[in-house]
Subunit: 332 residues, 2 copies
DNA sequence: GTTATTTACGAAACCGTTTTCGTAAAATGG
DNA sequence: CCATTTTACGAAAACGGTTTCGTAAATAAC
């Protein structure tokens, strides 16, 4: 249907191969033939069929972005960064949502192996129990934020351990001694590191760990509210909360509002988040803000660096971009 | 590299065409041959090369989603809906961000014409001045939210006029008489309709329009803060604000905070938004919540309906999914 | 038992591009 | 002026499927 090389060749009395080479600026084609071809091609608005090129060249110029969800501000900002780099490099971005479901993640990743994309950027699902579905992926793989450390690949992370540590340090400096940690659903590494940083900081500052509950949240909002209410609704309650992901932090806000606990008077809150409107919350939220945009850019850049090589092996390295603690009213 | 039909054919002593037909469950292949092929194919984990199929069949099973940005909660929720439908239908979603830039939108749409995708879902950029770059698009096109009415295509919209009207009605019922309308950047239809609903409601309720400024916001945050401060920082200021998009509503919050105006005592605010955390804002925000997820689903469904037909013409119709006004503390 | 039809498969063309290889003509070398 | 290299192009074979068409064998029809 569209205008093809064949049509150009016929109209210009040239061979198909000549036109193809001219368009790719081959040295075997004379300057004026190239000029003739270019001129005519732009005139009739020629655009190469991507499938033919991909079929022959084994390059699709597509990349896949596999994330748990897109309505989390961290992921949407990361996608923003990824898309910018991709567009500049002439790549196309395909997006897949796992909804934190390991099975679905597996199905998606498997489906990607047939050449539809040249590489994958992924932040793994929290509900990924099955741990072998990356083994037979032959595509270059770059993990960002939620990484798999047992797989040789590039990993773009933030300083989760340190951030957990700093959150505690910050709360202690505000007089807190009963610091709760809200663990997110699933067994994600990033949560584990944040928790370990939290625990180490408690230890280093001589805080009694017995008063510092680690609350395991689920993937269900109302269930979490029930759990949080249970933790907060008694006199021995914590004097501060660290939300390990955006969602549970928001749920902690809801629980405090419902229990008429005043933030930051009755309880202080700091949350891992990327919300640009954290400052507009009631009260404005002290956040550990992850460099989502930069992590997206870094992940995409790492992938394209690999794709530009002959050998499609992602270098096995870890790139850390630090988060920053932004103090607001919730810990004042 | 991967396992191909040819390999299956050789290993099973069949012709390539036989294998192809068997895999597509053709009636010309006997039941036991089909069984043999299926079994072997699954055993060696065969997956068809999408480029070969697309090249021959002129179907890519890809669709493009072109949106201004992904960090706006409306668009991220819409993408969520789109992706769900697409995944169910076996389609792949390519995402493109225009950053409200008409030129970039044009470049993206042009680049999509060569068959990389089978159809396009688009919400047009606010900065689209050039109005002819959809004319030569031969792909099925479905607009959602920000539509182009002069182009025959399916349009998924919400009741913008009515919502603008209802926002005013709600504020009037709360005693407001000096109602400001914050227009968003660009000449979007949706903003115009919301504004027209706003104006009609003022008229119908006998409100003096002179006290109801229409504030033209820009695409620049600090510039908007300057403008908003100018509007709010005097005694004759409005007693209420309608934010026509999420961003300017949030900026109005910031401006009020900076000017120490108490919401809702000094000024009431209602905003077009999809924020799930609107209830956590300071104070919780009365929103006109657009059915983002449903609009995404509807847009994708309409597109796939077209793609399943022989004739690839999108029906020229408009589907309206109503928004709902959710009352919260900002207008109490 | 002969002819007509159906069944089950294979050969080959095709989708649009890239790439290898072959080869006249032109340019260069001695 | 003849031998060799370079230049500029064309023919054809891929890439991995799908689809049309042809055709033996099996079955049905009469």
């Amino acid at each position: 249907m569209g205008v093809t090389i064949k049509k150009i060749a016929e109209d210009l009395n040239l061979a198909v191969s000549t036109v193809s080479k001219a368009l790719r600026d081959s040295h075997e084609i004379s300057a004026d033939t190239k000029a003739r071809v270019f001129e005519y091609a732009t005139k009739i608005n020629y655009s190469p069929n991507p499938y033919a090129s991909s079929l022959k060249g084994r390059r699709s110029r597509n990349i896949a972005v596999v994330v748990p969800e897109v309505s989390d501000s961290f992921f949407s900002e990361a996608i923003n960064g990824i898309e910018e780099v991709a567009q500049r490099e002439g790549y196309h971005v395909m997006i897949y949502l796992t909804h934190e479901d390991g099975k679905q993640e597996q199905a998606i990743v498997n489906d990607l192996g047939n050449g539809r994309v040249d590489g994958i950027l992924i932040s793994v699902a929290a509900g990924a129990t099955d741990h072998d579905h990356f083994d037979d992926v032959k595509l270059p793989l770059v993990f960002f934020d939620r990484v798999r450390e047992d797989i040789p690949s590039t990993r773009i992370v933030t300083n989760d351990y340190e951030s957990g540590y700093n959150a505690v340090k910050h709360l202690i400096s505000r007089g807190c001694r009963r610091i709760a940690f809200l663990s997110a659903f699933g067994g994600l590494n990033i949560i584990r590191y944040r928790r370990e940083g939290y625990l180490q900081a408690l230890k280093d500052h001589g805080i009694d760990v017995k008063n510092c509950p680690i609350v395991s949240c689920t993937n269900n909002e109302s269930e979490n509210l029930r759990i949080l209410t249970q933790v907060l609704d008694h006199t021995e309650r914590p004097d501060s909360i660290i939300g390990s992901v955006e969602k549970v932090t928001m749920q902690a806000y809801v629980a405090c509002h419902e229990l008429n606990l005043s933030i930051p008077v009755d309880i202080k809150v700091v949350g891992f988040s990327h919300l640009q409107i954290a400052s507009l919350l009631n009260p404005s939220l002290t956040t550990i803000t992850q460099p989502a945009y930069e992590m997206g850019r870094a992940a995409a850049t790492a992938l394209f660096k690999t794709l530009s090589k002959k050998k499609l092996d992602v270098v096995n390295e870890q790139i850390e971009i630090p988060s920053v603690l932004i103090e607001r009213a919730s810990t004042r």
